[in-house]
Amino acid sequence: MATSEVKLLGSWPSPYAMRPRIALNIKSVDYEYIDEKLWEGKSQLLFQSNPVYKKIPVLIHGHLKPICESLIIVQYIDEAWSSGPSILPSDPYERAVARFWAAYLDDKWFPAVKSIGVAKGEEEKKAAIAQVEQGLGLMEEAFGQCSKGKAFFGGDEIGYLDIAFGSFLGWLRVTERFNEMKLIDEANTPGLAHWADSFCSHAAVKDVMPDTDKLAEFGKMVIAKIKAAGAAAQRH
């Protein structure tokens, strides 16, 4: 397949943009990656490709209209390149479980991770950390049930929930570093600790997972901007 037939608009720090890239790698699909520097402003291509949300990632496949929303893109990739390794589980119940946890991570868990970074005061921060830890406890249990003793949520190979959850590991590590704590560790979440290493070193993942140092630098800039905007809003 010609490289230009598949284009992905993303942004290197974004966990959501990483998801379709991992999926395309699993399917060995060549694609053109277009990096949006969102903190410098959004491109015309992005506005045109995702008029509803104006967000990355966006997948453009041949002459089809663009596909938006990271997990919807991942499912599309799984179904459009059906001859490659499967990303969603084959059993409908296991699929429902994977979709449930992916939605939980997006709707509840990762917002809690983000709120640690912008928490006002110790109480707020402690509450956010507690929420994140509680979520990791749930995911540790889910890992036991889904992996059935294998390396990944998807079993022997990376699947939908591995991609949904694993894409957040970069930011989780940055959060651990900024707060001098471990959130995933051998003592509390042994299953997840091994899984995180396996995931990050996987061939489909390692080249698209951002370097933690680089992400930490970027994180400092983002937090500073958010706090400055908050302070400015309060002054008015």
Binding site: E69, Y76, P92, R95, R99, F100, A103, Y104, L138
Partner: protein, 219 residues
Amino acid sequence: MEGGVVLLDFWPSMFGMRVRIALAEKEIKYEYIEQDLRNKSDLLLQMNPVHKKIPVLVHNGKPICESLVQVQYIDEVWKNQAPLLPADPYKRATARFWADFVDKKMYDSGSRVWKTKGEEQEAAKKEFIGNLKLLEGELGDNLYFGGDGFGYVDVALVPFYCWFYAYEQCGNFSIEAECPKLIAWAKRCMQKESVAKSLADPEKVYGFLLQLKKAYGIE
């Protein structure tokens, strides 16, 4: 509870209605168990410990949570009848996108219409209608969001129709005046037995909403 299908639900819930419609489309027999959300049952807490919310679908004793996850599950298990998602991967992605849009936008913007007053309410109405107009644009001249046939996005959105009367009363506006094509679509869906018997009565919904407003201390 081994074997068979059980639905833990709450009669005015748009999310529960989605599952009722899907089960009806597939002609699946199930046990409906009404939940009291102010006094959550042990069963509900056991079946949905993470969110403690309805609807919960239980199949062969195993719970499935989140309405769109449930609808997809029903579509995949009972795949030989009334398919809800199309076969083509691109059309499936489009359907998932718009159902997800309904999830992200409709409940919150609708809630803001009845929870607010004055300028805030005017802004809420504008946003709500804006979302409906986007959906109307996506519908175009098709009979259903699924094209010629009733499908996944129709299931995701049509339950909100029985809440429109309540929103209109609270916001003092007419949704049909703003989005006639969408109302025509909704009425078309209501001609289907699966939809008509799954949606709550709009007057009853309005009565329920008035009780909710009292409970929230909103006039």
